[in-house]
């Protein structure tokens, strides 16, 4: 028992935990009938991904992920779901062609990606990881090498805001 817990809370174990959680919640996102449930499961997926980020020493990003994605984006989703009041769409006949087609195409993509992974073995000759993604390091990069995209992204956000206001007007006269 001690060993198991030890293992689970080691970095390897935590990886399996978070990975399993992310995949499970991902499945539930696509399988839930109720959109609200899907949204909730997506939040959980995002949270587990944040955990994975922490395991990868990307602390700042993990925080941002929770703050922005889970906090703002998903809330936005929930607002819209509730605004549109989508309870009506519960039971619709599943189109068999769609499912099979989807399974085939997705299966093809997966097969290609996994085969690529298997063949190239990207992790084979890597140096030992030593970089730590804390705020200071990230900030330094952001304000020196990537300062132009940084500024552009701020303009982008402004544009998005203006666009959203325009689009959600009741009548666009």
């Amino acid at each position: 028992m001690q060993d198991t817990l030890q293992y689970v809370f080691s970095s390897n174990g935590l990886f399996w935990l978070f990975a399993a959680l992310a995949l499970l919640c991902g499945c539930l996102v696509i399988l839930s009938r109720n959109p609200v449930t899907s949204a909730m499961f997506l939040v959980l997926t995002i949270a587990s991904l944040a955990g994975l980020f922490v395991l990868l020493n990307a602390f700042f990003l993990a925080a941002i992920q929770i703050l922005v994605y889970a906090g703002a984006v998903m809330v936005l989703f929930l607002f819209v779901i509730m605004l549109l009041d989508l309870r009506a769409e519960q039971r619709h006949r599943i189109k068999l062609f769609g499912v099979i087609g989807g399974a085939v195409s997705v299966g093809a993509v997966i097969a290609v990606l996994l085969r690529a992974l298997y063949v190239t073995k990207p992790g084979a000759n890597l140096a030992a990881p030593e970089v730590v993604g804390d705020t200071v390091a990230l900030g330094k990069l952001l304000f020196t090498k990537y300062v132009l995209p940084f500024e552009i992204v701020s303009v982008l956000l402004l544009v998005a805001m203006v666009g959203v206001i325009l689009l959600s007007k009741k009548d666009l006269k």
Partner: protein, 624 residues
Amino acid sequence: MKFEALPWLILFLPLLAAAAITLFTQKNRGVSAGLSIGAVVISFLLSALFVKLNGFNPPANELAVNWLSIGDALRIDFGFRLDPLSLGMILMVTGVAALIHIYSVGYMHDDPGFSRFFASLSLFTFSMLGIVLSNNFLQIFIFWELVGVSSYLLIGFWYEKASAADAAKKAFITNRLGDFGFLIGILIVWAALGSLNFRPIEQALADNPEALGALATIGGLLIFCGAVGKSAQFPLHVWLPDAMEGPTPVSALIHAATMVAAGVYMLCRVFFVLNGEALQVIAYVGGFTALLAALIALQQNDIKRILAYSTLSQLGYMVMAVGLGGPTPAMFHLTTHAFFKALLFLGSGSVILAMHHEQDIWQMGALRKKTPVTFWTFMVGTLALAGLWPLSGFFSKDSILALAYHERNYLLFGVAVFVAFLTTFYMFRLVFVVFFSSAKSKHAEHAHESPGVMTWPLRLLAVLSVIGGFIGIEALFAGQLAADASEHPHGWAQLVYPFQHAPVAAASGLVVFALGLLAAWALYGKGGKDPLPEKLGALSRAMRDRFYFDELYEATVVRMHDTLAAIAGWFDRWIIDGFGIGLIRGGTDFAGRALRLAQTGNLQTYALLLALGVAVLLVVVLAS
């Protein structure tokens, strides 16, 4: 070479005149005639000037501009070959053409298409000069076709007459058959020797007589095909008599003096390409044509038809001479024939005009008193044609007879002598019926002489027909074409040369002249009607109906052609249009409809197809 620009001017002045008349001066008859006559007379004077400055044999005798080159394989020049053969010809062509141009002012005086006539005549002069001056096969072929076009325009000059339009078509199409063979012959020579220009080909064949290999005979015979078409040899002789539908000056210029001579000229120009077997065939074709045409001429009753068949017969003589290995006699006879045949045709034009466009000789008679100048010049022409010493025709015909005798081809010698007899006979038949005896119709009673613009060319040509035998024409051509030029005499010795050199031939010629004259006098001296049809019966009818060649061609060649055309039409309509195009049309329609099914408008279908596409792309990219 001095004054190198002269050949260009000589060639292109008539073309400029034709263009100017067609574009600008069609309404103004005087200016049109002036432009046309001016162009050809200036060309003649420039030719004479050029010969005066450079002699007949300029040392550097080619002027060429590279027109088109395709790698090393094909090099096409536009150039002039200036040696005795071509320089002699341009003098003859421009000279005779100038006289006929002047004559036409009188003959075509009342015709509404006066300017058009002169434009076509100038175009023809340009084309003929192009043939004569060419230095390579392709250029001669181009001008060959141009001459055919001019001939078409001029034969069909009175195009509202159905017979004229048909005759023009017949001439062009028959010529086309010959030209097809000519083109293939040119291609064979080019493929074997790699060049289209005459000088390199001559050089290659001199270095290696077997250069043409197995195709030598075929190539030579195919090139001869061009001459068969253009010079109306058997079996493509059928167009020349019908070509008499054109105005008489046209018959004189094109179908007596120059265009039909182009075939003989071409054979002499490329004589080095013809090997022994080809020459044999050529000789026999020429001999046969001469005999056939002379027989037909015996029973023709239209003055121009008689002269047309006479032309055919004399062309047969020339081709026979080439075939026997003598381009010099052929060219000599070509030149003298141009003089007296043009004279005869122009004289017949004068007669036709006097008879108010009546052409049947049995409606004429006793014109000797009414049209004296025409009579005397026509007589000179007839005597020259029949070969009386010392007129030009005697010397040229004798050189051909002598050649046949010398080559020991006694069959062709016999044929040639017999044809000389027939020639004298039918020409004097013509003369006695038209100019002697009594007038057989009202037109004949009221005939009067033609105006001066028509009689002066007749007089000039008569003089040339008399002196043409001993002014050195033969020596000129022999200098280039004959193996041993030193033999030929000069000066007054030329008058008696035939009797010393080949007495049998000379004597035979004079004997059959006398026989023919006597026979014609006996049968036709009194005029009245033709006694031959009763004496010869069916043979006479066959001669009059041209030995039924036209009907034979109609039944075989024309019918076969129509069948082929019908088959091709069916194929085009059903297979190509119906099946081929239908397949394309149906296929495109089907493909469009199939592709339309992919545009469902459904987002998820698009996403699905997107994913599939990405997967396929990844596989393709990563697998390679």
